[in-house]
């Protein structure tokens, strides 16, 4: 090989950077998948400690219930207001507003928005906690005691996060709907009786809402724990892990939302009316 400096074509450099990013993404997904598989393994074979799961559920609820309710209340009012205004431009009939809003909440908004908030609040918390255990050698100490950190630390957070995302989804849907109802009354003088209408919610809506709940609830703790477990170095590594957890979890929520919505559409020929 010659020592002459290699002059790269700019396009090549961009492609190289893209390739690098692609390789890194694949690697992250790959090793996060490893954490996921081990979590499932320990769900079946590991120790059973309901106390640890309960504690994590409490943590998650404590961290996010007020935050999620507050945000979803505003989201409900804003969406009903904007939806009503747009509808009135086409035709002055708001009789379907409540029914449409409920369908939208069930099939997408309630789980997805709750998950995005969980990704920031809970994802960051998990990464910070596990990350600081990683840099203070507590994870190595666990492994020295023949205890897999995935069994001890990831599994309880995984179960708790799935359960709590269901709870948070129901809470956030209810809050958003209730606030939307008030908004509809105030802005458009719609009676609650005509707003509360579940005629548009069908089993496919419910099913895809549930699947989303499950997928987000699993992805957020796994990606966040993965970010925390792989923290190396000092306390700045904990900060970096926290950021990574939030970015990865949020991206995963959006990507899963897309994939599941698309899958439901492909399987059931679009949502029935």
């Amino acid at each position: 090989m010659s020592d002459a400096p290699v002059v790269e074509h700019p396009r090549k450099r961009v492609l190289g950077a893209l390739g690098q990013a692609g390789i890194e993404t694949t690697r992250t997904v790959g090793s996060a998948y490893g954490v996921f598989v081990r979590t499932l393994y320990y769900l079946v074979r590991g120790r059973h400690e309901p106390g640890a799961i309960a504690r994590q559920m409490y943590e998650i609820g404590n961290r996010s219930l007020v935050f999620v309710s507050l945000v979803m209340g505003f989201v409900g009012v804003i969406l009903v207001y904007q939806g009503g205004v747009q509808t009135q431009r086409v035709l002055p009939d708001l009789s379907q507003l409540g029914a449409t809003f409920l369908e939208l909440l069930v099939r997408d908004l309630a789980p997805s928005l709750a998950a995005l908030m969980l990704a920031t609040r809970v994802g960051a918390g998990i990464a910070a906690e596990l990350g600081s255990m990683a840099v203070t050698e507590q994870l190595d100490a666990l492994r020295l005691s023949a205890a897999d950190p995935v069994d001890y630390l990831v599994k309880p957070r995984f179960v708790a996060s799935i359960v709590m995302l269901f709870v948070l989804t129901i809470v956030s849907g209810t809050v958003a709907y209730a606030c939307g109802l008030v908004g509809a009354r105030v802005f458009f003088d719609l009676s609650p009786r005509s707003f509360v209408d579940s005629s548009l919610v069908d089993p496919v809506d419910l099913g895809s809402g549930l699947v989303k709940c499950l997928a987000y609830g699993a992805a957020i703790p796994i990606l966040s724990a993965h970010a925390g477990l792989s923290a190396k170095g000092g306390s700045d590594a904990v900060g970096a892990a926290t950021t990574r957890a939030v970015v990865h979890s949020s991206l995963a929520v959006i990507a899963l939302d897309f994939a599941i919505s698309f899958g439901a559409h492909a399987l059931f020929g679009g949502y029935s009316r």
Binding site: T136, E137, Q138, D140, A141, L142, R143, L144, S145, A146, A147
Partner: protein, 248 residues
């Protein structure tokens, strides 16, 4: 015997260990000394497989640790305990539960009561039994370190690696830890490898000393060899002098 053979380790572009070779004989107390950042912690973590060498081999008796997978390392970690530089107790568990964890994981003791009794006995060995039900956050650094040592001894290891066991302790507690290490090896036949830069411990209890400097072994010998060495780097370290050839 623990053997390091031509062990090299880099992090990024920084070479932390450069072809380090030495043996840790059975039954003795060996020390690894060197300045902060010399790579002492990295070196001993190779023995339990928490760090993998870029090149070279680490042997524990007739096992080549550097070749083992995570599953086989579990048996190495049973025979060879590591007391970490920071006390690394689990904050959510009491002292007793911390010590009981490895016992449970390795099925030492059939019942919970049996395991708790063993854990109490271990705590008594480091004079921490009265604090069995306290949580780590309630204890001082020296006490936490002693609990961590009790946890490390839970599985009756043949080898114990101590990473700076006396750093951050007051002199009285530091000498107690020294005496514990001495008792372990004189009466329990345990082989100890101690990372330290505490001169009192080094010259108080070491049988053999290995000095690391700039990633390489600078000198191997007895405490007397170190006292009499005319290598300026060694002299500066063992006399604890500010001026000399050592880089900061």
């Amino acid at each position: 015997m623990i053997s390091f053979r031509e062990v090299s380790k880099r992090f990024g572009t920084r070479t932390v260990l450069d072809r380090v070779t030495f043996d840790v004989p059975r039954g003795a107390i060996s020390f690894v000394i060197g300045a902060s950042g010399a790579g002492k912690s990295v070196l001993i973590k190779h023995v339990t497989g928490f760090v993998r060498p870029d090149a070279g081999e680490i042997w524990l008796d007739d096992l080549e640790v550097s070749r083992l997978g995570e599953r086989e390392l579990a048996s190495v970690r049973k025979r060879c305990a590591l007391v970490f530089q920071h006390a690394t107790l689990f904050d959510s568990q009491s002292c007793l539960e911390n010590v009981a964890l490895p016992l449970e994981k390795h099925g030492r003791g059939r019942t919970g009561a049996e395991i708790r009794a063993r854990a109490r006995a271990l705590l008594a060995r480091v004079h921490m039994e009265p604090f069995a039900d306290r949580y780590p956050s309630e204890l001082g650094e020296g006490m936490k370190k002693r609990v961590a040592i009790a946890r490390a001894l839970a599985l009756d290891p043949e080898y114990v690696l101590f990473d700076e066991p006396t750093t951050g302790l007051d002199p009285v507690n530091a000498r107690r830890v020294d005496r514990l290490i001495q008792t372990l090896s004189r009466e329990g036949g345990v082989t100890s490898l101690v990372v330290s830069h505490d001169l009192t411990s080094i010259f108080g209890i070491a049988d053999r000393i290995v000095m690391l400097y700039k990633g390489r072994v600078r000198l191997i010998g007895t405490p007397d060899d170190f006292r009499q060495s005319d290598d300026p780097v060694v002299r500066q370290f063992v006399r604890g002098e500010a001026e000399g050839p050592m880089d900061a």
